[in-house]
Amino acid sequence: MRTFASRRWAGLTVVLLASALLIVGNQLLWLSFQRPVYISGWLLLAMVVFLAAFNLRKKMPFLPIGSASTWLQVHIYVGLLSIVVFGLHLELRVPNGLFEVCLACCFAIVALSGILGLILSRVLAARLAAREGEILWDRIPRMRGLISRDTERLALDCLAETESAAVVDYYMRRLRSYFAGPRYFWPHLMNSSRPLRKLLSEIEAHKRYLNDAEKEFMIRIAERVKVKDDLDYHYSLQAVLKYWLFLHVPLTYALIMFSVVHVMLIHAF
């Protein structure tokens, strides 16, 4: 079985060689007084259509048209090569005209979001694996609801048992909103545990106002705070892993539409 490193090197080598060939070919066409911009334009459109076809492949898992992993590898390296072709097509100049600027920006955003998505896929997946436990995305809201109700019940039990409102007051004031929905999206994304440490430190500080029985309840509530933090961590990272495609894929279709109009305009005028 080929290692990921060797596959990566092979892919990059092919892209570099293909890029060199394209650049040389482009220069030769220039030297022979031809306009390579038409060729690079059509090549770029073909590449973009091919890159968009990956999404169709994902929707047809039942067809024997190659594995999605092979498609993704080709998608990545053709995508990288398309950036070179895009540069050649622009002749390394800033496009003029509003439509061309929009078209170029669209391509740039699609390309950058693709690269960013790839990096996120590799980095965030490994970070999720490093965290204890595996949580299914679809089950996160239900689990959050369960933890929230469980913690609220604990706070109310504490009130009933100790006849003191210290824990339930703190819960209502500080923790109810924490358990109500996903929290600390950006800190989780940046792998920062600062908000959790701050909350646990607050809980620890609040313990000085509690008697032994209340402290027991508070310890159990603190455990649920940690569980909720794990849930939020999974929510934040899995949300990014899912939603970056909502930028990349629709913009690709927009790019194809813009490109078709661009071709029509070029050939019409």
Binding site: M1, T3, F4, F62, L63, S67, R122, L128, L241, K242
Partner: protein, 573 residues
């Protein structure tokens, strides 16, 4: 003490504590006099032990004309003595009964149009079934007999005309080798006319073998003449003897059959996993101990074995052996070369139930070590089959190996492994599975995790598929060519036996529905109809398992756990 705090204690029943059937004393007297037991030692036949075996481990079963008693490819744990009537056994060499005739699912791969049509034709309602298509299959039907549902052949005379069979009459025994070795049934047996059989579960057979030399000899001979030759011929170690029938016969004559481990321990894999390695090792019977001199090479016939060596105050697992693999060859070869007996360098333990064949040292030396022309080939074959000593070079970490054995996932031939370091949790695998199965996914992306590897709760298509034991209609079966364990939805009666037997939680019982989402109910009891569902490796799809092909990040793989090289390569990508 208040009544609420009163603790009632009882003894937890084991399967062996529950009698197979209810046989009264008069029936037992009649059974003792059966022709089937005429070969037993007369003293033993009169003994209380024999009476107890009959009371506890047997039951009388009546079959009607055409009832299928055993199906080729099924896994079973009991054998049958013919009490009254005649049964027929198919002869493989003359062409076997087609799958449809046995009430099994026929694998029909979709064509390109049917594959594309899934895009729009998949039903939005979960677990939709078109029960109008549940009519009788070709040649078989179901009927109820007491608490059981049986599959029967509709036209026995036509079957007898078309296929060659041999008949077994009163007093004859069948199904004993598969029951004792927990291997697949090799032939289909059906009733001609009304037949009464004495079903004896494997514990009874084992006790009979232990207590009656004649019976043991009979089983032994039957094993050598029927199963052993086929088993040895299929093992790579013996490939060089395939042409030399005389030598193979000598090996067969000298071979010894053994079983280790608890037959009924299959349902407790999860408990074993929780007990930890040290306890597991203590519970696993030793087949061959490190430091002992080898009596011969041990070949795994069915089940799994752990190879370990002493390490400080414990034992380190070196590898596991699967069916067809060999233990102890290197020590015998080394001993033969140096003229000094070499003790075993590793211990061999049974993981769960295992049946194995031991070839004595003199035969190994004669046919593998001394046999000059085939020496290198034999050694190579033996080495290839003995994965143990080579494990260090595979770079599989010790803890990962321990995890695989503890969770018993080494049993899988298509285990679903997910590399969580690469899995983006996109669920494309689950979506692809759903698309390939009428929008009903057949696995859950959850399961035990070790480091970054998850073993998902998907059917592993085990080497030893315990789910197939006791299926009353044979609806769950293994495809002989593809090796896929699959369920025939038409003949599944929703009894949950397979689901309860599966230690990996890979079989789900579902309530089936109409196209409008309403539950389909039994016309008599009005209870919802339940069916067993599981991964079928997309056997009817073009291109194989959709889950693996749909994973864009190379995170998911279906792995044959006996291919340790592939596993190591995958882990060290």
């Amino acid at each position: 003490m208040s009544s609420s705090s009163k603790i009632t204690e009882t003894i937890r029943l084991k399967p062996i504590d529950v009698p197979l059937g209810e046989i009264d004393s008069t029936s037992v007297d009649k059974l003792i006099g059966l022709d089937a037991f005429s070969g037993l030692d007369p003293e033993f036949r009169k003994s209380k032990t024999f009476r107890k075996i009959l009371e506890k481990d047997t039951r009388l079963v009546t079959y009607q004309d055409g009832d299928l008693i055993l199906r080729r490819g099924d896994w079973g744990n009991s054998a049958f003595f013919v009490v009254l009537g005649t049964v027929h056994v198919e002869i493989e060499a003359e062409g076997v009964f087609p799958h449809a005739l046995l009430g099994r699912r026929e694998v029909k791969r979709k064509n390109l149009f049917q594959a594309i049509a899934q895009w729009w034709s998949n039903c939005r309602v979960p677990e939709y079934r078109d029960v109008a298509t549940y009519g009788p299959g070709s040649g078989t039907r179901q009927r109820y007999s007491g608490d059981n549902t049986r599959i029967y052949l509709q036209d026995v005379p036509a079957i007898l005309d078309r296929y060659r069979t041999i008949s077994l009459g009163e007093g004859e025994l069948f199904g004993e080798l598969a029951a004792l070795g927990r291997t697949r049934r090799t032939a289909t047996v059906f009733a001609q006319g009304s037949v009464q059989l004495l079903e004896m579960r494997w514990q009874g057979l084992r006790d009979l073998m232990r207590r009656d030399t004649g019976f043991r000899k009979q089983i032994d001979e039957s094993f050598r003449s029927n199963a052993l030759r086929a088993f040895l011929a299929s093992c790579p170690v013996f490939s060089h003897l395939a042409e030399d029938q005389e030598s193979l016969s000598e090996v067969i004559k000298g071979a010894k059959l053994d079983t280790y481990g608890e037959y009924d321990k299959v349902g407790t894999f999860r408990e074993l996993a929780e007990e930890g390695t040290r306890t597991n090792l203590a519970n696993e019977p030793i087949i061959a101990a490190e430091g002992d001199y080898p009596n011969g090479i041990v070949m795994i016939r069915n089940g799994l074995a752990r190879v370990s060596r002493r390490h400080h105050n414990g034992h380190m697992t070196v590898c596991y052996l699967c069916p067809g693999q060999v233990f102890g060859y290197d020590e015998i070869a080394e001993g033969h070369a140096t003229n000094e007996p070499v003790p075993l360098k590793h211990s061999l333990r049974a993981i769960g139930f295992i049946s194995l064949v031991t070839i004595p040292t003199p035969l190994v030396e004669k046919h593998f070590v001394e046999n000059q022309p085939s020496k290198s080939a034999a050694r190579q074959n033996a080495r290839t089959s003995t994965q143990g000593p080579m494990l260090q070079s595979h770079h599989i970490t010790e803890d990962f190996l321990e995890f695989l054995i503890q969770e018993r996932v080494v049993n899988g031939t298509q285990t679903m492994l997910i590399d969580l370091d690469r899995c983006t949790r996109c669920d494309d695998c689950v979506k692809a599975c759903a698309t390939a199965h009428d929008n009903d996914p057949r696995f859950v992306r959850q399961g035990p995790i070790h480091q970054q590897v998850m073993v998902a709760n998907a059917c592993m298509h085990c080497q030893d598929p315990v789910c197939m034991i006791e299926c009353p209609t044979g609806a769950i079966s293994r495809h002989e060519k593809e090796g896929v364990v699959q369920i025939n939805d038409r003949t599944c009666i929703g009894c949950s036996t397979c689901s309860k037997n599966c230690p990996y939680e890979a079989i789900r019982m579902v309530e089936i529905r109409e196209q409008d989402g309403s539950l389909i109910r039994d016309s008599t009891t009005k209870l919802p109809i339940i069916k067993a569902t599981k991964c079928d490796l997309c056997v009817d799809q073009l291109g194989g398992p959709a889950c693996q092909r749909a994973c864009p990040h190379d995170a998911l793989v279906r792995m044959d756990m006996s291919e340790i090289d592939e596993l190591a390569d995958w882990q060290n990508r």
